[in-house]
């Protein structure tokens, strides 16, 4: 891994069109500003990983048919109406 030391206000360039600025450094936190083209989406890694995992889980668990799911949905909706 390439490790660079940067100060507040300095930046690095990745490829031709990705720029990462050090906006601020306070104690243990670093604020970064990122400029990247739309085909290079930027995410906080831990959040990105959670969504990735959930997507993979959802695809793996996709039911054979949705009738059970739509039945409970319908029941819930109609049940809710009857209670009122």
């Amino acid at each position: 891994m390439l490790v660079l030391t940067r100060k507040k206000g300095e930046s690095i360039i990745i490829g031709d069109d990705i720029r990462v600025y050090v906006v601020d450094v306070k104690g243990k936190q670093v604020r970064l500003g990122i400029e990247a083209p739309p085909n290079a989406p930027v995410h906080r890694e831990e959040v990105y990983r959670i969504i990735q995992l959930e997507n993979q889980y959802a695809a793996r668990e996709a039911p054979l048919d949705l009738n059970q799911a739509s039945d409970v949905w319908k029941e819930e909706k109609e049940g809710g109406k009857n209670e009122k």
């Binding site: 085909n39 989406p41 959040v47 990735q52 959930e54 997507n55 695809a59």
Partner: protein, 161 residues
């Protein structure tokens, strides 16, 4: 494996339709113009960029989000506003630009649904990573929201105690 799809993709150019054969929902025909393109793919599935939406059935809130790149890849999706009317998705101008979208009010939202086996009442929707679609350009993107506000496992039905 029982729950594996067996889709066979057959493009019928002259009719501008795509024919799909599937063990899940039989053979379907979708107009080619209904294909939704995701330049960034679904997160975790970067190589799968083209999808079609297949409504489950009448009076069902669910749709299938079927990959055209992998016959076995399918998601269950729902319009999250149906069960969470106050769902608030911030749309940046960069997102509008990447979708080629002109009007914010035309954008459509989908949330990927997870249905636990044998417990459909516990199904959840991923509100942390909704899919935003521009229905005019047929471009879509899965975006990432604030994890302090939204979760990948938001119950779709009211929780029973």
């Amino acid at each position: 494996m029982k729950n594996e799809t067996n889709l066979k993709l057959k493009a019928v150019d002259e009719e501008q339709k795509i024919k799909l054969k599937t063990t899940r929902f039989g053979e379907i025909e979708v107009p080619r113009e209904n294909v939704i393109h995701m330049p960034g793919g679904v997160l975790g599935f970067p190589g799968y960029k083209d999808y079609i939406l297949v409504p489950h059935k009448e009076n069902s809130p669910f749709l299938w989000y079927q990959s055209l790149d992998d016959p076995a890849l399918v998601f269950v999706v729902i319009n999250p506003l149906i069960f969470k009317p106050d769902y608030d998705v911030p749309i940046s101008s960069a997102l509008m630009e990447s979708l080629g979208a002109e009007k914010i009010e035309e954008l459509e939202l989908l949330a990927i649904v997870t249905v636990p086996k044998d417990r459909p009442q516990d199904m959840t929707a991923n509100l942390l990573g909704p899919i935003v679609i521009d229905p005019v350009k047929r471009l879509a993107k899965q975006i990432v929201l604030d994890p302090e506000r939204y979760s990948t496992k938001t119950p779709i039905l009211p929780q029973k105690k």
